[in-house]
Symmetry: C2
Subunit: 454 residues, 2 copies
């Protein structure tokens, strides 16, 4: 059995998670149980799952998809633009017509205030920051980056650093474009910078790194000031290296607090590296996924390179929707207040999952999970070599999880242990049931794994 | 003087225009006038332009940009979606949330009915068909077309056929991506198919052709059934050749009539060539430029190839805006009725330009122009080697025209004679003044050119 060797590592503190649960408390750690005791635990879990199977569940914990109550928070935005007058920008531009490639000024200001980025670095795109990121990598492949470098696509094999576990859609972009992915472990402060430097500073074929710097997907890690500074001060071997700074959860705190993230542009500027940063954000999880507004921010040099290409791609993005956002929120503070209402809806969902985890898995030494302060995910690690079995078993019981392995480049979790839990979409009662199913699957698979090993 | 030789060709019928004006009527053709008479005409035009210069004009005939009254036609669309209920698709999908890559079913049906394309061939994109076209060429460059062919970007020098005069933004895409452009003359039925075949059927580096098949930009030509059939039955030397069918003006008649365009998909299917067609359209000039809905249509084989790449690029497009269009129009007939209101606004603008042309240039043999039945442009040819001078002179008088040459690949009009007039944006009185300026510039430049030649 494959898992045997790796399962032994389980009682040691496990690397990528911040809040290690599953350490010995008043419960017996399963790895110390007899074969008979494990058999009883396995039978108990199997019985519970049999009962759950009869319920014909169809529950979904796969995606960071806002729930209905969250969508309703923004319904008022639908009605803020109803007339021609509502479409006139402060620059006198009629948002209904052609004109302005990079966004209306009041929308730039709104994002500037919200994210602390100078307006002149921002351009406002369509409805999807993923689309802006894909297009940015594609531009680099076909046109290179600013400064007259050869297009990435003509430089032979190129590579991206992929802090892992990470966002599967970032990895999918690399995979589609044939960019080799180098996994680098996540620490509780962000990517392992020693490993990052070892690649970026020595290998000119390393062209980029994916970062979700605040409430990272899936672990909820916010990069420490030290990590931001070290990223900003990198001396890449490649002159055309770029940091893809996907600040997807910039204002997505779950609790009434402000979680600090250092200013990457300021740090990069201090280090003479401002051109290294491509910054992305969106309102997909502020207003409506699919009908939000996405932005990219970059240095003057980068924007001067990008805009003529962008102007070949499109005449402009949806300015009426930009105005809709501006009018609905009024200010960055308006968005912050709105995000507290999101948090009020999301927090109980996260806490429900966590309390079921604690109740059914706590103290057993068979799983550990994060306690995020923001973002959209809880990251759970099973014992090594168990995640795929848990994923499949939950699926057979009608509970869809993000596929095991998806949080790693090439879908390959080297220890087969990470599961990404997305609590946002289901209602509380469904969430409780779904989490219960996941926990019982973990108990069953873990008991079997330990019995095989014994 | 460069123009001398070419100007001699002027009295012969000129090739690319449909409705040749400027043939001898009851006026004296200028080429037969004495040097003294030409001098008097020149002085008269110069005096008129001096008077116009004093008016400090700022008029713009550059772009196919709808006027204010046209935008107001669609203002009602802004208010059709105001609540969560309005966002529920007939498929029960909540348009506010993630989900559905290729468009909501009712929007597909609307475009299917409007354009006569089976729903299953349609996917609905963002706000810009130009963006869909750019992305499509980029996909071909990086991923190739369906069927496992080498990406265009790895095949060395590749080429596109560019019927000319044509749409400058099509040419800009080729130029940005380093695709060589082969100009092919437009006839009154569409591209010169003999020339098209000579390239497409013999040269495997020819990968595409740009077509605006109905009310072409700038000449307003609608491809004849014969031309559509010949395009559909092409046997390209390249197995990965594609027709970029930009049906931008599919329902943009200026008069109360239906101008027939043959069904490219049906014709291609009959010829076993359905995979050769990439079809594009949008509502940019139906509802709001920049806040409309764009579509692409393609064969099942092509869509099967495209969709996974698209799914890497984005989670989905703005479905609320799709729903806004569906609810506002109700049906394809709703759009057709709406387009008659656009025509009522546009027709007097076109007729104003044409009547000034007729009054000030008619019968002189110094210019010819189109009498379009739809679309957004009037195409005007000066005598050879005069367009750039007219463009500059009009500019110096405060009347902006699309830059001379822009309607040809590389901005190079071999006879320097084509000017694209966009009558849609200015108010009628401004349009009359702007056209008057253009006409007097043409008269002045033509008189001088003929005097140089004499």
């Amino acid at each position: 059995m494959n898992g045997e060797k790796n399962c032994k590592t389980l009682s040691a503190p496990v690397f990528p998670l911040i809040d290690v649960k599953g350490t010995v408390t008043d419960f017996m750690v399963w790895s110390e149980l007899s074969r008979e005791a494990l058999g009883a635990l396995r039978d108990d879990a199997a019985a519970q799952l049999d009962a759950l199977r009869a319920e014909n569940l169809h529950l979904d914990l796969t995606r960071g998809k806002p729930g209905l109550a969250q969508l309703d928070l923004s319904s008022g935005m639908l009605g803020v633009i109803t007339s021609a007058e509502d479409c006139i920008s402060e620059s006198s531009l009629d948002c209904r017509n052609y004109g302005v490639l990079d966004g209306i000024p009041e929308a730039k200001r709104l994002f500037s205030d919200l994210l602390g980025i100078p307006e002149e670095r921002i351009f406002i795109g369509g409805n999807s920051s993923l689309n802006l990121m894909f297009d940015t990598v594609v531009r680099c492949m076909l046109f290179g980056v600013a400064g007259g470098h050869e297009p990435w696509g003509r430089q032979g094999r190129i590579k991206f650093i992929c802090p892992s576990p990470g966002y599967d859609r970032h990895f999918a972009i690399c995979r589609a474009l044939g960019i080799e992915m180098i996994p680098v472990e996540m620490t509780k402060e962000g990517p392992d910078m020693k490993a990052v430097r070892a690649h970026v500073c020595t290998d000119p074929s390393v062209k980029g790194i994916w970062c979700v710097p605040k409430f990272s997907n899936p672990e909820g890690v916010t990069y420490s000031d030290r990590v931001v500074e070290e990223l900003a001060s990198l001396k890449p071997a490649a002159p055309d290296f770029r940091i893809f700074w996907d600040n997807a959860y910039a204002v997505h705190e779950l609790y009434d607090e402000h979680v600090h993230l250092a200013d990457i542009f300021a740090a990069a500027e201090d280090n003479g590296n401002i051109d290294n940063v491509f910054y992305f954000a969106s309102t997909s999880k502020i207003t409506f996924p699919g009908s939000g507004v996405a932005i990219m921010a970059a240095s003057e040099t980068n924007l001067r390179h990008i805009k003529p290409i962008l102007a070949t791609q499109t005449i402009g993005f949806d300015k009426i929707n930009q105005m809709r956002h501006v009018k609905y929120f009024g200010s960055a503070d308006g968005i912050r207040a709105h995000m507290r209402r999101h948090a009020d809806i999301l927090r109980p969902k996260f806490e429900t999952v966590l309390s079921v985890f604690e109740r059914e898995l706590g103290g057993c030494g068979i799983a550990e999970w994060t306690h995020p302060r923001g973002g959209y995910f809880i990251s759970l690690n099973t014992m090594d070599d168990c995640a795929r079995r848990v994923y499949k078993m939950a699926k057979s019981l009608g509970v869809a999880l993000t596929e095991a392995g998806a949080t790693f480049p090439y879908g390959c979790d080297p220890r087969d242990r990470n599961l990404r839990i997305a609590p946002s979409y289901p209602e509380l009662s469904e969430l409780e049931t779904a989490t219960h199913v996941v926990c019982q699957c973990i108990r069953l698979v873990s008991a079997e794994a330990l019995m095989e090993r014994a």
